[in-house]
């Protein structure tokens, strides 16, 4: 994981993944000024790297993470996520991550898909403020159930998924510019693997084929995305200032203009998150044959 000024998120993040059975955290801190780095340095299961180099010039942190994966990831199941991404997978309430990775090993599966699911509160983002250590999904409890577009990227063989609240609110006229939601965050790392663009796609390309093309379903999960909290408005102003994000931070520009008009993501079709079984019924994730 790489991060900057995310201290308020860290306690819940570490707790969440520790409970799922993550054994060690490798984190790159990109010049935090909020005390987050100091906090992490005290955690026994965190290895921390710090840099003040440009996020943008490191291909949005991916060069740093690819190096860590290359150096330390080999032979391990590695989960690469942002501080606001929370992995849910079939049976995650009763089976730790280790059960999943054992099963993936036994099935000779090397990469596991978990698309990004944007979560948002009902009402304006600033109405409920997020406290350190709190479950973000108590506030951002809602998501869009069935408005995702999927296309296949012929070059890298990955699926390109867009849609959700950001598409319908910010990108309805230019949907091509809407952020990608496809992610392959869990990989049994080997020498010669690399993330090509964020965790959206990998090399070698065979790792991107996390979908069945003959009608069957492979197992998959979701990254619940806790981006849209009270902390977001300030963050988007800061990120816009820094211009360190993808495609000249177009996404942040769009958010900022939208959010300044007190945009609410909630709509009558929004669903309140109830758990992985609900996501499975909706067809956002699948158990595949992991019964």
């Amino acid at each position: 994981m790489s991060m900057r000024n995310e201290k308020v998120r860290l306690p819940y993040f570490l707790d969440y993944y520790r409970q799922k059975g993550v054994q060690h955290f490798l984190i790159v801190d990109n010049g935090s000024t909020d005390g987050g780095a100091e906090y992490l340095a005290q955690e026994p299961d965190v290895s921390l790297w710090t840099t003040n180099a440009s996020y943008k010039d490191s291909r949005f942190g991916m060069d740093w993470l690819n190096w860590l994966l290359f150096r330390y990831g080999r032979g391990h199941w590695c989960l690469t996520v942002d501080p606001d991404e929370f992995l849910v997978y079939p049976h995650h309430d009763t089976r730790p991550l280790r059960a999943l990775t054992d099963w993936l090993d036994a099935s000779a599966i090397k990469s596991f898909s978990a698309m990004l699911l944007d979560m948002y509160p009902k009402g304006g983002l600033d109405e409920q403020s997020y406290r350190e250590g709190q479950d973000p999904f108590q506030i951002a409890a809602w998501f869009d159930p069935a408005n995702y577009t999927i296309r296949k990227n012929a070059e890298y063989t990955n699926l390109w998924i867009q849609g959700g609240p950001r598409s319908r609110v910010f990108f309805r006229d230019e949907p091509e510019k809407s952020p990608a939601l496809n992610k392959i965050p869990l990989v049994r790392w080997e020498r010669g693997y690399a993330y090509a663009s964020s965790t959206h796609m990998l090399l070698p390309r065979s790792l991107n084929v996390v979908y069945d093309e003959d009608g069957g379903e492979k197992a998959s999960g979701c990254l619940l995305h806790a981006k849209f909290l009270s902390t977001f408005v300030g963050k988007s102003a800061e990120e816009l200032e820094r211009r360190q994000h993808y495609a000249d931070s177009q996404e942040y520009m769009a958010y900022h203009s939208g959010l300044n008009q007190a945009q609410d993501f909630w709509c009558p079709e929004s669903r309140r998150y109830e758990g992985w079984r609900q996501l499975e019924d909706l067809g956002l994730i699948s158990k595949g044959n992991w019964a």
């Binding site: 009608g215 069957g216 379903e217 079709e269």
Partner: protein, 573 residues
């Protein structure tokens, strides 16, 4: 696969002491778990022969041996390096079986388990069960030509080709060798008197049957033959038992389900209740860290041992569903881990839907008229070029779909299948040659689609448009070209949708009769067609079409309207 057992009365020759169980335990991983399982069997009074794969580290083996040293009736057989799918596994089992019969003379039944097989019921229950069927050999044994369930496309060829290397060691070479033998028609002779049978390797045989397999005077010949059979642990005993036993109960006492890759399903803590209700004796395989299962099973003996029959049906159903989910998936679902190629969708959409073309051109209030008469969501033109016309014309449609045409057109197939899948009710949508045509083939080849078309009806709004005639002519030419292409799709041999196609002239001749049929087809009350919706005036259509002809455009889709334009009468029957 498992047949219903038939009850057999306990044999009168049953020994006074009842059966004694011998357990052959094959271990290759998770030795601490295997140690625990061995203790459970030993405490239940079984004799054990443990085989540990030669690849397991010596320290682990030493730990297991010392942990089990206190039990007198546990012995270890000679260690072999076992490779999945190869004869080494059978050899390990044969060695262990010989040792078993040699060392434990009182053993009456021998059962094969693995170190990750968990006994669910007390061992005493299994003994009581065996006492009821003292001479039965419980071994799944199905003729190879009839199984139809083995994975990887090899059934009989397992027995007629040679498999000198394992699949997992070098998949490419394995496939090439199979290919070569097929191409050159190389096949081996199956030894006389053997009929290939397949089945689960977790069997439970009576002592006499096992003994006669081991001492068969042709055993060397059989072993040589099976040495190059693929996955012989699923065929060696299953085939040979047919030579030596006439009392075969073709099922396994071990609950073990396999997926498409031939990989056993794994049980976790959340399967506890399911396993308990299955009343099976042994379950395979247990996730080594499923501590709740390991502390819950085997259930302690309460009162008298129960010989009750296992009831694995529910477990089997759940795992069969998982296999189906992996292989077939859910119809009409396109998602991150299911993205079928065209015509491999196994259900392009998840439920029935209706596409109505031309109706709203003739009847301006058609949507509301129809939605009052059938149980369905009646949308406008969801494929319209400018925006998606959802029912109620909101910006957000079912499932959070946007009314943005640009978003819809990124992935039209996903749009329509999302709309249908997320809505509980039947979806009805208006369509026209003015709309995006990207889904025409998709819908025409979808059995869920019902496509009802009044061809040429798009001319009615043009007739009333008041546009300059030059513009009308251009628009008419374009719309006619588009509709002709669409009708060609609907007339193709690949058509799977149900269609109803009328030309405008036909329809106008008897609108009430046709609408009545439409209502009946869509599950409404045909009599509700008695009140026709307000219909646009079509007087002047004949003259209009003639003007188009005069301008060099031949109207091909409207049917017959007299050029002189005698007043059309509308039937109201």
């Amino acid at each position: 696969m498992n047949q219903r057992p038939f009850e057999i009365a306990a044999s009168p020759q049953q020994q006074a002491g009842g059966p004694r169980l011998g357990i052959i335990m094959l271990c290759h991983t998770a030795l601490p778990l295997a140690t625990r399982m061995a203790e459970i069997w030993a405490r239940g009074g079984a004799a054990l022969v443990v085989h540990i794969d030669a690849k397991v580290h010596a320290d682990e083996v030493a730990t297991m041996r010392s942990d089990l040293a206190a039990h007198g009736d546990i012995v270890f057989s000679r260690r072999q390096a076992c490779e999945w799918g190869r004869f080494s596994l059978v050899r390990a089992t044969l060695d262990a079986a010989e040792l078993m019969l040699d060392r434990f003379e009182d053993v009456t039944h021998v059962m094969v388990v693995s170190g990750t097989c968990l006994p669910l019921r007390p061992v005493a229950d299994l003994l009581a069960f065996l006492a009821q069927h003292p001479n039965r050999d419980f071994i799944e044994s199905v003729t190879a030509e009839d199984v139809g369930w083995t994975m990887g496309g090899l059934n009989e060829e397992r027995f007629t080709l040679r498999f000198p290397i394992g699949f997992r060691r070098n998949k490419k070479l394995f496939d090439r060798l199979v290919d070569l033998q097929r191409r050159w028609n190389l096949s081996r002779r199956i030894p006389d008197g053997l009929v290939p049978h397949l089945g689960s390797q977790w069997w439970c045989l009576t002592r006499p049957t096992l003994n006669s397999i081991l001492t068969d005077h042709r055993r060397d010949e059989f072993d040589r033959y099976f040495n190059h059979v693929w996955i012989p642990d699923e065929s060696y005993f299953q085939t040979l038992v047919r030579r030596h036993s006439t009392r075969i109960e073709s099922r396994s006492l071990t609950l073990a389900k396999f997926d498409e890759q031939g990989k056993p399903y794994v049980f976790y803590n959340d399967h506890r209740q399911l396993l308990e209700e299955s009343r099976c004796f042994v379950a395979r395989k247990i996730w080594p860290e499923a501590s709740a299962l390991l502390s819950h099973f085997p259930r302690p003996l309460q009162g008298e041992p129960s010989p009750a029959e296992p009831q694995p049906e529910r477990v089997e159903r759940i795992f069969s569903q998982a296999v189906a989910r992996r292989r077939l998936g859910r119809p009409g679902l396109y998602m991150q881990s299911r993205f079928p190629l065209r015509d491999k969708e196994n259900g392009k959409t998840s439920g029935p839907y209706v596409v109505m073309q031309g109706f709203s051109d003739l009847f301006p209030d058609f949507e509301s008229w129809l939605s009052e008469r059938i149980d369905a969501d009646v949308h406008g033109h969801v494929m319209a070029a400018e925006r998606v016309e959802f029912l109620g014309r909101g910006e957000i449609g079912p499932g959070g779909l946007s009314d943005s045409a640009a978003l819809r057109d990124l992935d039209p197939r996903g749009f329509i299948s999302n709309l249908i899948r997320i809505s509980g009710r039947m979806q009805v949508m208006q369509f026209s040659p003015r709309d995006a045509q990207s889904l025409n083939w998709f819908m025409a080849t979808d059995p869920n689609a019902r496509i009802l078309v009044i061809t040429g009806a798009w001319a009615v709004p043009l007739l009333h448009s008041g546009m300059p005639f030059d513009d009308i002519r251009r628009a008419a030419a374009r719309l006619q070209r588009i509709e002709l292409a669409q009708i060609e799709v609907l007339n193709s041999v690949w058509l799977k949708a149900r269609t109803g196609i009328w030309d405008l002239g036909d329809f106008c001749a008897r609108p009430a009769g046709i609408l009545r049929n439409v209502l009946r087809e869509l599950g409404g009350d045909p009599e509700a067609a008695a009140n026709l919706p307000q219909m646009r005036e079509i007087a002047g259509m004949g003259r209009f079409l003639q003007r188009l002809r005069n301008a060099g455009l031949k109207p091909q889709l409207m049917g017959d309207f007299p050029a002189a334009d005698a007043a059309m009468t509308r039937d109201r029957i």
